[in-house]
């Protein structure tokens, strides 16, 4: 177990290094000089050259990589300065992180709730009218882009029913929860729909297996069979999916934060891309990759707990 953990950690660090190099290449190899971009076309060549020297863009590419990588973690370095905000990219990033984390966690909880309610209620009576209509509804939810779901929720809950605010983040924690409800629900609807479908199929597969028949034959109460034998054994695929969904969730936050005007990492990234604020783009992209990588690591570690047959020897 320990050697497996060590191996996974080393692998994670290697991937992280790869991600950093990839992000750096992506930003540097793409045509367009950041200094030319920020200064505009009509600035004399000397000013551009000064700017290039200031950000270390005149150095060899390998040296530039170390400067930009080191700059991200040192508040005094000029390389880590946001070109637009004129302060360390790390601090701009840290300011926006809580809203995104709260949104992601909130929507995960809502998605799991939606999946449990729909998955369990449809698996109990497969083929019923409710089951079939839910199958259609979840399929439709999967094909809708998140900004469309967000807009529909705004129309119904904010503009018509006046239950939740259309945008903003709020001041206190409870205020945050109220403001983030619609954005989190937007993300949770498509993720929850997919989880529900997988949970339903998984439950039905387990219910068909011989050991469930045996449990019934032995006279174990129905409820106990469902809770202890069926439910726990059906969790493997949904948990795997939940891990994969973190990546989609990150993509989703970018869109949803823009729709609901939330001060999170996603909206920061879109704005930085439009402004070509390279240090900020670099740190947000790396951060999203870290979130995805560490979640998949976490899911791998949870497996043996859900299914003791999976052992990392």
């Amino acid at each position: 177990m320990n050697s497996y953990l060590l191996q996974r950690l080393l692998q994670f660090i290697a991937v992280l290094l790869g991600i950093t190099i990839f992000t750096f290449c992506l930003i540097r190899l793409i045509p367009g000089d950041p200094c030319r971009m920020t200064h505009g076309q009509f600035v004399p060549a000397e000013a551009i050259e000064r700017c290039r020297m200031k950000y270390g863009l005149d150095k060899p590419i390998l040296q530039q990589f170390f400067i930009s990588f080191g700059g991200l973690f040192s508040s005094s370095s000029i390389a880590g300065q946001s070109i637009v905000y004129q302060r360390p990219a790390m601090s701009v990033f840290a300011e926006r992180l809580p809203a995104t984390l709260l949104l992601a966690g909130y929507s995960c909880i809502l998605a799991v709730l939606i999946a449990l309610v729909i998955g369990l209620s449809t698996a109990v009576r497969p083929g019923s009218l409710f089951d079939r209509s839910m199958s259609g509804a979840t399929a439709a939810a999967l094909t809708l882009p998140s900004f469309v779901i967000g807009l529909l929720l705004i129309i119904v809950f904010s503009l018509k029913l006046h239950l939740f605010p259309t945008s903003g983040y709020g001041k206190s924690f409870w205020d945050h929860l109220r403001h983030l409800f619609l954005p989190a629900l937007t993300l949770a609807i498509s993720n929850g729909a997919m989880l529900a479908r997988v949970l339903r199929r998984s439950l039905l597969n387990v219910m068909d297996s011989p050991y469930i028949l045996t449990a019934h034959a032995k006279g174990v109460p129905k409820r106990q069979v469902f809770v202890h034998h069926v439910f726990r054994n059906s969790l493997i695929s949904p948990v795997t999916l939940l891990g994969l969904q973190i990546a989609w969730l990150c993509s989703g936050t970018v869109v949803v934060e823009t729709v609901f005007a939330l001060p999170g990492l996603g909206s920061l990234m879109v704005q930085s891309v439009l402004d070509r604020d390279y240090p900020v783009i670099q740190i947000t992209v790396i951060c999203f990759a870290v979130i995805v990588g560490s979640t998949s690591l976490l899911i791998d570690l949870i497996y043996p707990w859900i299914d003791p047959r999976v052992r990392h020897d």
């Binding site: 692998q11 290697a14 991937v15 790869g18 991600i19 990839f22 992506l26 930003i27 793409i30 045509p31 367009g32 399929a139 439709a140 999967l142 094909t143 809708l144 882009p145 998140s146 900004f147 469309v148 807009l151 529909l152 129309i155 503009l159 199929r201 039905l204 597969n205 068909d208 990546a247 989609w248 990150c250 993509s251 989703g252 970018v254 869109v255 823009t258 729709v259 990234m269 879109v270 891309v273 439009l274 070509r276 783009i281 992209v285 999203f288 990759a289 995805v292 990588g293």
Partner: protein, 292 residues
């Protein structure tokens, strides 16, 4: 018992090769749907009386009527025409990008799975890195930095899209190459390239073909999300996501501006997912029946 019956039927079909293949209803429905949509966007869009960018400031925000079938937007542009032209762009990019990513991913995956060694190790490390990025974020960054044009979109979708195909095909090839029929083909004197492209690949791409339909849906969602965020294709080019973003300000006074693009996105998405279900049923019939 029923499952055994199915198996018997399939065996019979395999043995005699006389039973005609049955096409699943979902496959027929999905194919017809995709053909209708393609005709509508590719050919129908050319036969309209209004160009997508023709402005008629006297007839702004018109309700649906005989003159403008679905009404007009805030610049007096015909919504129906914009809807079809927007569909053409979304459809075209999504399908071409899917085709390229499929080809690239399949080739790389097949080569890596077949030859293994250094190529496989290198490819899998690249895959590890790319898979850690949330797709849409990578697409936004690449398109935003490369410039918001068609080429940028193709490069972004291409860079992100080939990974799942490579993984799927590689995994299938890794197991398929140890089967008996490959040994038999080798014994008959097949060289590596014939073995890979004629014998292994046709048996290893069904998963990838099924995945291609969800990849089209992902591409359409990505293009429209970029359009909505203002990072995608530049206005005034009609594009569903950008149309929804523009119509947002008039959502209460002229809901048609948002409603119809949303409807088209949903119909297109559902059509491709039905096609995907149909393909899955056709290409993996026994596995599907046995799994449930």
């Amino acid at each position: 018992m029923i499952e055994l019956g199915y198996l018997k039927e399939d065996w019979a079909a395999e043995g005699t090769r006389k039973v005609r293949p049955r096409f699943p209803a979902a496959l027929v429905l999905g194919t017809v749907g995709v053909i209708v949509l393609s005709l509508l966007f590719m050919i129908g869009a050319h036969f309209l009386s209004y160009a997508p960018n023709d402005q008629d400031m006297d007839n702004r925000l018109q309700a649906p009527g005989p003159l403008h079938w679905l009404g007009t937007d805030n610049y007096g542009r015909d919504l129906f025409s914009r809807l079809l032209h927007g569909g053409r762009i979304d459809f075209q990019i999504a399908i071409i990008a899917t085709f390229f990513t499929f080809t690239i991913g399949m080739t790389l995956g097949a080569l890596a799975g077949f030859y293994e060694g250094l190529l496989d190790t290198l490819l899998m490390r690249v895959v590890d890195v790319l898979i850690a990025f949330p797709d849409l974020i990578l697409v936004i960054v690449i398109v935003g930095l490369l410039g918001q044009d068609l080429l940028g979109l193709y490069i972004a979708l291409g860079l992100v899209g080939w990974v799942p195909y490579a993984r799927l095909v590689r995994a299938e090839i890794l197991t398929a190459k140890h089967r008996d029929y490959i040994l038999a083909a080798r014994a008959l004197g097949c060289n590596n390239s014939r073995l890979l492209w004629h014998h292994l690949l046709p048996h290893s791409i069904s998963q990838a073909i099924i995945y291609a339909t969800s990849s089209v849906i992902f591409n359409i969602l990505a293009i429209s999300s970029l359009g909505y965020l203002g990072v995608g294709i530049r206005p005034p080019q009609a594009e569903w996501g950008a149309m929804i973003a523009e119509g947002r300000s008039f959502i209460l006074s002229a809901p048609a501006l948002v409603l119809f693009p949303v409807l088209m996105l949903t119909v297109t998405g559902v059509t491709f997912s039905v096609l995907g279900d149909g393909l899955a049923e056709l290409l993996q019939p026994i596995r599907k029946r046995l799994s449930h």
